[in-house]
């Protein structure tokens, strides 16, 4: 973990409610895809945890959705503004277990951390599919970005306005091939989706969880959950849990 000042390089609206921010600063503690950062906003007591979407040199990319007052306020930040950010938080995905044909399954604002995972898996020569779920066609973002890095993308929309009608689990069933069509899964999204993915997947995999956080670096026990391998802090021993250790 490191506390660093980052400078905003870009703050761009992707959809009606989703924005991308690029930040310049010391990214040295960001090791794994699936890790997160914790951002201090003036006027709010707690930091805002946001997943690492990408990191290249000293540029950190995050994607955030307007949920409450803090994220709403972030949309007004200008280029050049400085933000106090804790980096290098959480365990992140263990990409070494992916096998040849991993599938990445993301819903809504669970999609961003899978982008860095995809980039790294592809760089390691894996054949990567991404199943991305949205409510409707207007909410789609980053489909192109996943394709550009060489990822096969399957879209699901709840209202069927594009791609498979239904949830990511419906789209997952369209993947065919040897066995179930994938060797391992990495997923991130709202908890009901994670549970559905847990039940629908036929291989092992890793799930990234969200929880309201006090600190984000292991000090407060605010984010604990029970797992097969004992109590874990989502912010420290998580946010990524292995399928085998999850207790619902």
């Amino acid at each position: 973990m490191k506390q660093t000042i980052f400078t905003i390089q870009e703050n761009k609206q992707l959809t009606e409610t989703t924005w991308r921010m690029k930040l310049k600063g010391d990214t040295s503690e960001i090791i794994s895809a699936g890790q997160f950062v914790n951002i201090k906003l003036d006027g709010y007591f707690l930091r805002r945890p946001i997943s690492v979407c990408d990191v290249e040199g000293d540029i950190l990319t995050i994607i955030y959705k307007i949920l409450g007052r803090g994220t709403e306020e972030m949309t007004h930040f200008h280029i050049g503004k400085e933000l106090d950010i804790l980096t290098g938080l959480g365990n992140g995905y263990d990409l070494s277990l992916s096998g040849d044909r991993p599938v990445l399954i993301g819903g809504g604002v669970g999609i961003p951390p899978l982008y860095l995972a995809a980039k790294r898996l592809i760089a390691e020569g894996r054949n990567v599919k991404a199943v991305l779920g949205y409510n409707t066609v207007d909410e789609i973002y980053y489909e192109e970005e996943f394709r550009e890095i060489g990822c096969e993308v399957i879209i699901a929309t709840a209202d069927g306005s594009v791609g498979v009608k239904g949830f990511v689990t419906d789209a997952l069933q369209t993947i065919a091939g040897e066995d179930c069509g994938y060797t391992y899964f990495y997923t991130c999204g709202p908890e009901p989706m994670l549970k559905a993915v847990y039940n629908a997947t036929k291989t092992s995999g890793q799930l990234s969880f969200e929880e309201r956080m006090g600190c984000g670096f292991g000090a407060c026990m605010g984010c604990s959950c029970k797992t097969v391998t004992g109590y874990k802090r989502i912010c420290k021993e998580g946010p990524v849990l292995r399928k085998e250790e999850v207790i619902w």
Partner: protein, 306 residues
């Protein structure tokens, strides 16, 4: 030269800055981030007889200048603390630690204190009597002077180290409880624990915390904490440890002027993991600016009549 030394129940501290229980783990986790030997000491996570998971999540809700927590005393139980946590702490911390103890019955307090009292690393026992007393019908030990005194008496009988009683602010008259603890033999008073509060999620109409209510801490409670420290320090003659919203060297000094011998820092650690180190580093400058030569000399000066 400015002098930040203070003496707490017979043990000298390099400075009065003490991370508060529940916001600093068992210390070694924080030693990954900075050398925690710069601290006066710290108070470790509230420890009970048995392992506890605590309450369901969500356990955290944000508030103006503070947060609610309903962690519910998650800890591995006193045996594991002694067997695993304290040895890990010994590798990174040379000083005496403050052992924070919780319980749901007098017997449990006695059990846990007796064991921690024997540990070489432990300098003080900080007994948190803000938990609901299951025997006494759901009220907290800390809300009734007689029950508070009964905990103190029982713990003092099985311990040799200074026993500091940590009080809850959710009472009509905190001074009467502090006085009862002093009379029962307490060596110090530490206050305040969190204030009972609540938030509701407007989208669902339901409480944000799974536990419905939680404890408010952070700068929001600083003025209430300061008033209680002032009142209690005026009434008792044992040392008082002040806490509640402290987030800067200035706040430390204000607490000491009100009557605190040492000062704990809780919620602020969660937002800025380096805050206690920063406060320790800033103290001499702020003292110099205010022409304070020795922190020991300012304890309770706001109490004096001119």
């Amino acid at each position: 030269m400015t002098d930040t030394k203070i003496t707490l129940c017979g043990i000298e501290l390099e400075n009065p800055v003490i991370p508060a229980s529940g916001t600093f783990g068992y210390g070694y986790e924080m030693a990954e981030y900075y050398d925690i030997n710069c601290l006066g000491t710290f108070s470790f996570k509230g420890t009970t007889k048995e392992e506890r998971f605590g309450n369901d999540t969500p356990r955290i809700a944000e508030c103006p200048s503070g947060l609610l927590n309903s962690v519910g005393l998650q800890n591995p139980g006193v045996k594991v603390v002694i067997r695993e946590e304290l040895p890990k702490l010994a590798l990174v911390f040379d000083k005496k630690v403050m052992a924070n103890v919780s319980g749901f019955s007098v017997d449990e307090y006695v059990y846990v204190c007796e064991r921690l009292d024997k540990e070489r690393q432990v300098g003080w026992l900080e007994v948190n009597i803000s938990c609901p007393n299951v025997h006494g019908g759901g009220m907290s030990f800390g809300t009734d002077p007689n029950q508070a005194a009964s905990v103190v008496k029982a713990v003092k009988q099985v311990t040799t180290k200074p026993v500091i009683i940590k009080l809850t602010p959710n009472v009509t008259d905190i001074t009467s409880i502090a006085l009862a603890c002093e009379e029962a033999g307490a060596d110090g008073i530490s206050l305040i624990n969190t204030m009972l509060g609540m938030r509701i999620d407007l989208k669902t109409g339901k409480p944000i915390l799974a536990n419905t209510t939680g404890g408010l801490s952070g700068p929001a409670i600083f003025p209430v904490a300061l008033r209680m420290v002032y009142d209690v320090a005026k009434a008792v003659s044992i040392p008082v440890i002040g806490m509640g919203g402290v987030s800067s060297a200035e706040d430390v000094i204000e607490m000491m002027m009100a009557g605190a011998t040492a000062v704990q820092v809780g919620a602020a650690n969660l937002v800025n993991p380096f805050i206690c180190q920063d406060i320790v580093n800033n103290l001499p400058d702020v003292m110099a600016k205010l022409s304070i030569e020795s922190l020991e000399n300012i304890i309770g000066i706001s109490q004096e009549e001119f």
